[in-house]
C-alpha cells in the first residue's frame, strides 16, 4: 500500500473504533469493546511503523476542501514528514499500551464502552493535530483533543461525592485551554493576513526560500500568540493550574492525555513553527523564561503534595517547562527527544500509579500507603524504573534526553544552566520521596485496605513492562557522541532530514571533556539525592506530615503557592460580580425601567386618546370648529 492509503487507514482505525463502540458498545460485552478499541490502536501503530519505514520525503495527502473563499482557502490535508510520523508513532504506540492497560483498569466501570469511545476519539483528534498539513487542521485537532480531554476528566460526572467536582475540573481545563486557544486563533489570523496561507509548506517556502520576512514586530506578534496557545495546552505559567485538577479523570486518561500526548501539543506546535520562532528572538527568550519559571514552580509545588497523581501532575508541568526551556534555546530536536522519553516514563509512572491505586482500592494519598513493594512486585519494579528514568539516573532514557537540554543550557547561559540543575534536583527529590513513601516502610492504610492489596492482572502489568523497557532503552534513540562514533544523534538526524526548518538549525555539540563533566555532575547529583532520600525515608523512616503540621515553605508548597486562590480573587470573582451587577443595575434597573416608562407612556396616551372618542356629535363638532378656527388663525398670521 502506498503511504497515503496507509495514513488514511491509520486515521480511520481509531475513528472506526470510536464509531462502533459509540453506537453499539452498550450492547456488546466488555471484552469485545475493549479488545476492539485496543486492537485498532495496535493496528494503527503497526501501520505507522510501515509508513515510518517507507518514508523518504514529505508527502502531502489532499482530502477535501473545507472552505474556499476569495481571501481564504482551508484544506483538509495531511502532511507526512519526519516530525509528524514520529509524533504519530509516539501517540499510537503509547496510546495502544494505555488502551491495553485500560481494559483491566476500567473493567469494573459502568461506562466502559463510553470510555473507550472517548479514548479512540481522542487518538483520532490527536492524529489530526499532528498529521494536518496546515494550522487550520492543527487548530481543528487542537480543539478536538480539548473536547476529549473535557469528556474524560469529567468522566465520573455522576459520582456520588465527587461527581460535581470532577465536572468542575473538566470545565476548568476546557476554559483555561480556551484562553490559550484565543491566542492561537489570533496567531492564525495574523499568519493568514501576513502570508495568505496556513499551509506549513507554503509558509516555509515564503520564509525560507523567498525570504519574505515581515517586520520584527509582526514576527514577535505571531510567535507570541502561538506561544500563548501553547501555554494553554501544555500547561505553562500562567495557564497551568488546570492540569493538576485534570487528575480527576481516570488514571489511564492522565497517562495518555495529561502526560504523554495531548499536553505535548504545544511543544509540537513550536517545533512545527521553528522557522517562525527563529525569527523572533524575543519570543524565544520569553519562552525560555516562562518555561524555566514553570519548571521551578511546579517542581517546588510537587515537593509537598501527598496525592500520588498530583505529584505526577506537577512533575509533568515541570517537565513541560523544561521542554519550553529547550525550545527557547532553539533545541528543537532535543525537545522532541525528551517528549518521546517523557512519554515513555511518564506514561509508565501514571499507569504504575494507576496500578497502585487499583491495588489500594482507590486510595490516592501516599500517607496511607507504604511498604507496597512486596505486595505488588511488578508494579514496584516498573515504578522504580520510571522514577529513576525521570530523575535522570545514569544510562536510563531520561538521563540522555535531560542531559541534552542541560548541555544546550550550558552553551546558552551559565545561570540558566544552574537554575535548570536546581529544578532537576528538585525533581529527583520529590520523585524519590514519593517512591520511598509508597513502596518502602510499613503499610499505613487500614487493615481492610491491606487485605485487598493485590497485583494487577497481566493486561495491566504488560504495558508497564513494555514501557519500563522503553524507559530504560529510550536513550538509544539519540545517543550523545561520547561513546560511539556512529549511530549517535539518530533521532536528531532523522528529524532534521525531513522537517522544514530543522535542517537549517545548526546543532552544536559540546566538546567531549565538557560533556563528560556535565554528565558526571548530573550523575553525582542524582545519586547523592537517591542516597539522601534513602537515608531520610527508609533508614530514619520519616513520613509525610499531616496538613495541619505544615509551616513555612512546606505549607506554601502544599497549598500550591496559592495560585488557584489568587486567580479566583483576581479573575473569577470580579467577572462573576460584574455579571451579577450588570444584571441587577444595567439590565433590570436602567434598561428595563426606561423601557417600562416608555411602554406605560404609550398605554397612557392610548387611554387619553380613547377618552376623546366620546360618541357625542356635539363634542366632535366642537373639535371641528376649533380646528377650523385654528387653521384660519394660522393662515392669517402667516400672511
Amino acid at each position: 500500500m502506498a503511504i497515503d492509503k496507509l495514513i488514511l487507514l491509520i486515521m480511520a482505525l481509531p475513528l472506526l473504533g470510536a464509531f462502533v463502540n459509540g453506537t453499539a458498545g452498550k450492547y456488546l460485552p466488555k471484552k469485545i469493546v475493549g479488545t476492539l478499541a485496543t486492537l485498532v490502536m495496535f493496528a494503527a501503530f503497526g501501520l505507522a511503523l510501515m509508513v515510518f519505514n517507507r518514508l523518504h520525503d514529505t508527502q502531502i495527502i489532499h482530502l477535501f476542501q473545507v472552505l474556499n473563499l476569495d481571501s481564504i482557502t482551508l484544506n483538509a490535508r495531511l502532511q507526512v514528514d519526519s516530525l509528524s510520523i514520529w509524533m504519530t508513532l509516539v501517540v499510537t504506540g503509547v496510546g495502544a499500551l494505555i488502551h491495553l492497560f485500560s481494559m483491566g483498569y476500567m473493567s469494573h466501570d459502568k461506562g466502559y464502552y463510553k470510555f473507550f469511545t472517548y479514548l479512540n476519539l481522542f487518538i483520532f483528534a490527536m492524529l489530526i493535530l499532528v498529521l494536518g498539513s496546515n494550522y487550520f487542521m492543527l487548530f481543528f485537532g487542537w480543539e478536538g483533543v480539548g473536547i476529549c480531554s473535557y469528556l474524560l476528566i469529567g468522566f465520573h460526572y455522576s459520582d456520588l461525592e465527587k461527581g460535581m467536582l470532577n465536572s468542575i475540573a473538566a470545565r476548568k481545563a476546557f476554559i483555561m485551554n480556551r484562553i490559550g486557544d484565543l491566542g492561537l486563533l489570533v496567531a492564525l489570523f495574523l499568519i493568514l493576513n501576513q502570508f495568505g496561507t496556513l499551509e506549513y509548506n507554503e509558509l516555509a517556502d515564503r520564509i525560507l526560500v523567498d525570504k519574505l520576512i515581515p517586520s520584527d514586530w509582526m514576527m514577535l506578534g505571531i510567535t507570541l500568540m502561538l506561544f500563548i496557545g501553547a501555554t494553554g495546552k501544555s500547561a505553562q505559567i500562567p495557564l497551568f493550574t488546570w492540569l493538576p485538577d485534570a487528575m480527576a479523570g481516570p488514571t489511564p486518561v492522565s497517562a495518555l492525555i495529561h502526560a504523554a500526548t495531548m499536553v505535548t501539543a504545544g511543544i509540537f506546535l513550536v517545533v512545527r513553527s521553528n522557522y517562525l520562532f527563529e525569527l523572533a528572538p524575543t519570543t524565544q527568550d520569553i519562552m525560555l523564561y516562562v518555561g524555566l519559571a514553570t519548571s521551578l514552580v511546579a517542581a517546588f509545588i510537587a515537593m509537598r503534595q501527598n496525592d500520588i497523581k498530583k505529584v505526577l501532575a506537577y512533575s509533568t508541568v515541570s517537565q513541560l517547562g523544561l521542554l519550553f526551556v529547550a525550545l527557547g534555546m532553539g533545541a528543537y530536536t532535543a525537545a522532541i527527544f525528551h517528549v518521546t522519553t517523557h512519554a515513555f516514563f511518564k506514561a509508565l509512572l501514571f499507569l504504575g500509579s494507576g496500578s497502585v491505586i487499583h491495588a489500594m482500592s482507590d486510595e490516592q494519598d501516599i500517607r496511607k500507603m507504604g511498604g507496597l513493594k512486596k505486595f505488588i512486585p511488578i508494579t514496584h519494579l516498573t515504578f522504580l524504573i520510571g522514577t529513576l528514568a525521570i530523575a535522570g539516573f545514569p544510562l536510563l532514557s531520561g538521563f540522555y534526553s535531560k542531559d541534552e537540554i542541560l548541555a544546550h543550557a550550558v552553551m546558552h547561559n551559565g545561570v540558566i544552566y544552574a537554575v535548570l540543575m536546581f529544578s532537576v534536583a528538585l525533581t529527583a527529590i520529590y520523585m524519590f520521596r514519593m517512591y520511598f513513601l509508597v513502596f518502602h516502610g510499613e503499610f499505613r492504610g487500614s487493615a481492610e485496605a491491606k487485605h485487598h492489596l493485590h497485583e494487577s492482572p497481566l493486561n495491566m502489568t504488560l504495558p508497564l513492562i513494555v514501557l519500563a523497557i522503553l524507559s530504560v532503552f529510550g536513550g538509544l534513540l539519540n545517543l550523545p557522541g561520547l561513546f560511539f562514533e556512529k549511530g549517535t544523534h539518530w533521532l536528531s538526524h532523522f528529524l532534521e532530514h525531513n522537517t522544514r526548518g530543522l535542517e537549517l538549525i545548526h546543532s552544536v555539540h559540546l566538546e567531549t571533556s565538557q560533556a563528560m563533566l556535565l554528565m558526571g555532575s548530573a550523575v553525582v547529583m542524582t545519586i547523592c539525592i537517591l542516597i539522601a532520600s534513602f537515608v531520610v525515608y527508609v533508614k530514619r523512616g520519616s513520613l509525610a506530615k499531616a496538613d495541619s503540621e505544615l509551616t513555612g515553605w512546606e505549607l506554601a508548597s502544599n497549598k500550591k503557592l496559592y495560585f488557584d486562590e489568587v486567580y479566583n480573587k483576581l479573575f473569577v470573582q470580579p467577572i462573576e460580580w460584574i455579571g451579577k451587577m450588570s444584571h441587577q443595575v444595567i439590565e433590570v434597573a436602567v434598561l428595563n425601567k426606561s423601557i417600562s416608562v416608555f411602554t406605560t407612556a404609550i398605554g397612557k396616551t392610548g387611554d387619553l386618546v380613547r377618552k376623546w372618542q366620546t360618541g357625542y356629535v356635539s363634542n366632535y363638532l366642537l373639535w371641528m370648529v376649533l380646528g377650523i378656527v385654528g387653521l384660519v388663525v394660522y393662515y392669517l398670521l402667516k400672511f
Binding site: 472552505l67 480543539e143 455522576s158 465536572s167 493576513n193 450588570s582 423601557i595 411602554t599
Partner: protein
Amino acid sequence: MELYLIPLVFALVAAISPKNMVKYIGLAGAVATLIATVLKAMAFQTGSTVLVYDPELVSSFGLTFKMGYDGMGLFMVLLTNVIVPIILLSNLNRKVANERGFNAMVLLMQFALVGVFTALDGILFYVFWELTLVPIFLIALWYGATDSKKSLIKFFIYTFVGSLAMLLSLMALGTQAADFSHESLVAVQLTAKSACWIMGGFFLAFAIKIPLFPFHTWQPATYTNAPMAGTMLLSGLMLKMALFGMIRWMIPLAPEALGEMQFLVITLGLIGIVYAAIIAIKQNDIKRIFAFASISHVGLIAAGIMLFNTDALSAAFVQLLNHSLVAVGLFLAAGILEDRFGSRDITQMGGVAKVAPRFAFWFAVIAFASVSVPFTSGFIGEFLLLKGLYNYNWVVGLIAATTLVFGAVYTFRAYQVSMNGAATTHPFKDLSWNETLAFFLIAMMIVIFGVYPQAIINFVGPSLENLKGLIQASNNIVQ
C-alpha cells in the same frame, strides 16, 4: 407558489380538523412544505433569481407584488422549512391547551416567514414582517406562562415601534423610487445624511428583533415566558428575519450610510457579545441563560454582517443556520428540563445524566455545538466572523473572540449544574422517540455543515456577489 399555499392551506385545515389528528396534520403540512422547498432547491441554479409571482402590475402607490428568491432567499426558506417541522416534531408529546390553534398558528408563522424571505417588494416585506407578529403573539399569549401578559405587551409594543420606524424609512425611500420593488429601491441614490436616516429606521426595527444591545430587554422575559415552541420560533427563525433583513434590505437600500453606521452597529454587537455572556454566567434560570447566550451569539453575527464583505457575509449565513439549529436544540433541552422538573432553576436540578443518559448525550452534543467546537457548523462560522472582525480592527476582533471563553463558561455551567452530579431522586423520563429524532436531525445537520460548510457558501455565494454588484452599479461606491 406552493411554498405559500401549502402552509396556508394546512393552517386552515388544522384549524378545523379533529382534535386527535391535528398534531399529525400540522406536522404533515410542515413536512410537505419542506419537500416542496427541497424540490425548488434542487432545481435552483445558483446565482439566478426565480420570480415566484410578478404580475407586472403596479398599484397607484408603487406596490409591485413581486415575490421571488435568489440563493440567499431560498436558503432562508429552506432553513425555515427545516426548522418548523423539527419544532412541531419536538412538540408531538406535549399537551397544549388548544391543539388546533397551536398548529394553525405555527403554520401561519411558517407562511409569513416564507413571505418575508421571498418578498422582493418593500411593502410586501413589511406586510409579511408584521404578519409574523400575529401568530407568535398568540402562541405566547395562549400557551405561555400565566403571568406573561405584561412581558408580552412589552414585546409587542417594542417590536411594533421598531417596525414603524422601518415603515417610515421605507416610505421616505419610496417617494424617491419608481416603485417599491427591491431593485428600484436599491437604485435610489441618497445623500449620506438621508441614507443615515433611512438605514437608522431599518436598523431600529432589526436591532429590536435581533435583538442587539441595548434593545434586547424584551427578549429574556419573552423567551422565558413563551412556551417551548414559541421560544424556538422566536430564537430559531424570527430573529433571522432581522439578520436577513440587514443583508437584503437595510444595507443595500442605503449603502451610502454603511461607513457611518458600521462602527456604531459593530460596537453595539460587540457590547452585546460580552455583556450578555457575562450576565449569562451568573443566571440560574436555564431558559434565561440560553436567552442571554443567544444575544451574545447574534451580536457576533450582526457585527459580521456590517462588514459587508464576501467572507463575513458567507460566514454570517453559515452562522445563521448554526444559530437556528443550536438555539432550537438548546431550548428543546431547556423545555424538556422545565417540563420534567416543573422548574427552570438549574440549582434545583442535577443528576439527570445518570437517569436519562440519552437526553444527557444529545444535550451535550448541542452544548458542544453551542461553544463551536470542531465538526460543528459553528466552528467555521465563528472562525470566519472573528477573522473578519479581527481584520476590521484587531481590538474589535479580540473582544469578540472572548466569546470563545465566556461561551464555554456559561454553557458548561448550565449543562453541568443541571445534568451532572449524583443521580436525581426526581422522576425523570428519558427522551421520547420524537424528541430523540428532533435532536438527531439537529445534530446531523450541525455536523454535516461543520465538516462541509462550503455547501452553504456555494449556495448563497453567487447571489451575494449579485447583490453586491447591484449595489455597486447603482451607487458607484466600492465596498
